[in-house]
């Protein structure tokens, strides 16, 4: 069944996530793993920040000429014997994939990890059409067993603990001996490997995503670590690539610049184990590889982001760094966001793709600490865009009355600098008075949900503006 977005219930989702012990235990792995590894990878490459500037410029240039690069790309795909399918909506994508499967009488489809597949709910559509979708990325395989959606864009099962996965494997792989030892992760990895091997070999159609598309050569790139994506695209008769229009880059050189950032930002690796460039189907004399190569090119609302305040979001390369570094994501995980894309990138993208009515709460899921923008390899101004959404939501009066009145009070003072200074000074002294000796407020009126799981530090010293004025004097 197609999962429905629950972004509307963001507040309730957050409360549930904070009370979920299993989830809270699993989430401790996020900062411990990704953040430290990224920091080290960045340190080892002195040019890292200069590459970020270039990557931003490459994408900005591409987006400004996107119509032409898409035409160039399509010409090259066709010249190498592949097919491009232009799709407006998720339904178009599913219909195109199902048609390809039917043409080849495919009973099962092996799949590499693809966020576009999640966006269009391809698995549900395949199921309905009587075609078995088989996720082969280990994380995706696990959540498919659990009938869940990914909770992270590069680590789909990051919300789970080893013992939960062991229980799922025991419940699903019932033809294996019940007393087998599954005590460590490597036993689980091996079991999944054995089970999926047969699926790879029996599969008729392989579906993968694309990290980038190259206009110069009509090439699609996948970046993976497990090798499942490569078995998916090299063993079946047909390779279907799911991609969205903003994945384009002009040249192989441009792709290389962006790839220097992708793994370092996401997993903290210098380069992922496998970077694979696919151009068309099997050539004359090739002893293996797919006989047909299809690219499904989806828009799904992205052209509407061009030329406007959200265009910068189209630079996103789905590295996951903004999720890993986000205090809100770290506290509640990905499912609370209620749709396919979680974390800061999701808070910006989701309202664009499924509408502000559905996802209007998400841009509030931010403390505006700015870490997401600091780590984004594509230098996407995520906090600024979240603010844009908040403003829009405010104008549309979708915001609960409480927040609205809070914001109008703030706006009233913000427009009157002298009053603002006085008022914030007063408020700070009040908060300090309420707090105990340790300077922490255990409850905050109007923000009980926030203080239930943490203390609110009472402001210390003088206001920012007072300090600023003092520094300028010094």
């Amino acid at each position: 069944m197609k999962p429905q977005p629950t972004s509307r219930n963001f507040k309730r989702n957050v409360v549930e996530a904070l009370d979920n012990e299993q989830l809270q235990r699993a989430l401790t792995n996020v900062p411990a793993g990704f953040i430290e590894k990224r920091r080290k990878a960045r340190e080892k490459l002195p040019e890292f920040d200069a590459l970020r500037d270039q990557a931003r410029d490459i994408k900005n240039h591409t987006l400004r000429h996107l119509d032409l690069y898409l035409e160039e790309y399509e010409t090259q795909v066709t010249a190498s014997g592949g097919h491009v399918h232009w799709c407006e909506t998720p339904e178009d994508v599913n219909a195109a994939v199902i048609e390809i499967c039917r043409k080849h009488s495919a009973r099962s489809v092996t799949k590499g990890k693809s966020m576009v597949s999640e966006e269009v709910h391809l698995n549900a559509a395949l199921d309905e059409a009587g075609i078995e979708p088989v996720e082969t990325d280990l994380g995706e395989y696990i959540i498919q067993l659990r009938n869940e959606t990914p909770s992270h864009i590069i680590a789909p099962a990051v919300h789970l603990n080893r013992d939960q996965i062991e229980a799922d494997f025991r419940a699903t792989h019932t033809d294996l001996p019940a007393d087998r030892n599954l005590d460590d992760s490597s036993a689980l990895v091996n079991e999944a490997r054995q089970i999926l091997r047969k699926k790879f070999i029996d599969s008729d159609v392989g579906v993968t995503g694309a990290n980038l598309l190259i206009a110069e050569t009509g090439t699609s790139i996948i970046v993976t670590n497990e090798g499942n994506g490569d078995l998916t695209l090299s063993l079946p008769k047909v390779h279907v690539v799911l991609a969205t229009i903003e994945k384009l880059v002009p040249t192989l050189e441009d792709a290389s610049t962006i790839l220097r950032l992708l793994a370092r930002s996401g997993t903290g690796q210098e380069f992922s184990a496998y970077t694979t460039y696919s151009t068309g189907p099997r050539r004359d004399g090739d002893p293996d590889g797919p006989e047909e190569y299809h690219v499904i090119l989806l828009d799904n609302g992205r052209t509407n982001m061009l030329g406007g305040v959200f265009q910068d979001m189209l630079r996103c390369i789905r590295c996951g760094a903004c999720l890993n570094h986000c205090p809100v994501y770290q506290a509640v995980g990905g499912h609370a966001y209620g749709w396919v894309y979680p974390g800061p990138m999701g808070s910006v993208l989701t309202p664009s793709l499924i509408g502000v009515d559905e996802a209007g709460h998400l841009p509030n899921a931010s403390t505006f600490c700015g870490r997401c923008e600091e780590v984004c390899p594509m230098r996407i101004p995520l906090p600024k865009m979240m603010r844009h959404w908040r403003e829009r939501e405010f104008e549309r009066h979708l915001t609960p009355a409480m927040i609205r009145s809070g914001l109008s009070v703030w706006a009233f003072f913000a427009k009157r600098p002298a009053l603002y200074r006085v008022a914030t000074g007063v408020a700070m002294r009040l908060l300090k008075l309420w707090s105990g000796r340790d300077g922490k407020l255990e409850t905050l009126r109007f923000a009980g949900g926030w203080t239930k799981h943490r203390d609110f530090p009472a402001p210390q010293g003088s206001t920012f503006m007072a300090q600023w004025a003092k520094r300028r004097h010094d």
């Binding site: 792995n29 996020v30 793993g33 990704f34 490459l45 040019e47 590459l51 119509d67 032409l68 035409e71 090259q76 190498s80 399918h85 232009w86 799709c87 407006e88 178009d92 280990l138 994380g139 696990i142 099962a157 990051v158 992760s185 689980l188 990895v189 490997r193 091997r197 050569t217 090439t219 670590n225 497990e226 090798g227 499942n228 078995l231 090299s234 229009i245 040249t251 192989l252 050189e253 610049t257 997993t267 690796q269 210098e270 380069f271 184990a273 496998y274 970077t275 460039y277 696919s278 151009t279 068309g280 004399g285 090739d286 002893p287 293996d288 590889g289 052209t303 509407n304 061009l306 030329g307």
Partner: protein
């Protein structure tokens, strides 16, 4: 709507959003120029070093991602290096490889008479495959393999053990160097069906972020550098 109609609609919407005209020749010229010039962007200093240092860096980086590396003086030494490696890992004395000229020309019979040799793309029962890389990239210890009858792509992924031979003279600094090599060999705007960049054996961190080798692809990647 048919696919051509959708294509038209998407491109038109895009041009409206960007406030551009389909017949703007200056824009088209910009795009053509960028593609035909394919100028490199910033190249990290790490790999802009003398060739012999690049070989050392390649080795160091490949080992950092859990590949094993040996070097041999000449091509003739490769069969023995393979036999020895298989023995050290308790693997069967049997490999599969493609029609690569260098691999085909090795003195197999004379040097490794007991080694079983199979040809062609990977079969599910294969335990060890052998390939030749067209290049090794120093900056990240990355091997580059291209599809075709010489080195079938499935050999890179299906067997649990992957042995790759690369000539020291084919070790280079950066990804960009490889694009230039491929353009020379295949022509502008053309690539072989698959180009595989491989850095270390298969791995996953999907269970509690602990890295496990051999998720779906090879558990072991062994590199033999010639020369």
């Amino acid at each position: 709507m048919t696919e051509p109609a959708k294509r038209q609609a998407i491109l038109e919407r895009m041009r409206r959003a960007l406030a551009v005209d389909a017949d703007d020749t200056a824009r088209r010229a910009t795009v053509t120029k960028r593609i035909t010039e394919h100028a490199p962007n910033l190249i990290p200093a790490r790999a802009r070093i003398a060739h012999k240092d690049q070989t050392a860096l390649f080795r160091q980086q490949a080992e950092a991602v859990q590949a094993t590396v040996t070097d041999v003086k000449t091509e003739e030494d490769v069969p023995e290096a393979i036999t020895e490696y298989l023995r050290s890992q308790n693997l069967p004395q049997s490999v599969r490889y493609g029609e690569d000229v260098l691999l085909n020309g090795l003195p197999w019979r004379a040097k490794s008479p007991t080694l079983e040799l199979n040809k062609g793309p990977a079969q599910p029962a294969d335990e060890v495959s052998l390939c030749r890389a067209i290049a090794g990239i120093a900056e990240t210890g990355t091997l580059v393999l291209t599809s075709g009858i010489d080195n079938p792509t499935t050999l890179n992924f299906l067997p649990e053990n992957h042995i790759v031979v690369v000539s020291a003279k084919h070790i280079t600094g950066t990804y960009e160097d490889v694009w230039q090599i491929l353009r020379k060999e295949y022509g502008e705007r053309t690539l072989p069906r698959t180009v595989n960049m491989i850095s270390g054996p298969s791995r996953t961190g999907d269970i509690e972020q602990r890295i496990e080798l051999g998720a779906h692809g090879p558990r072991r990647l062994h590199i033999i550098i010639i020369g």
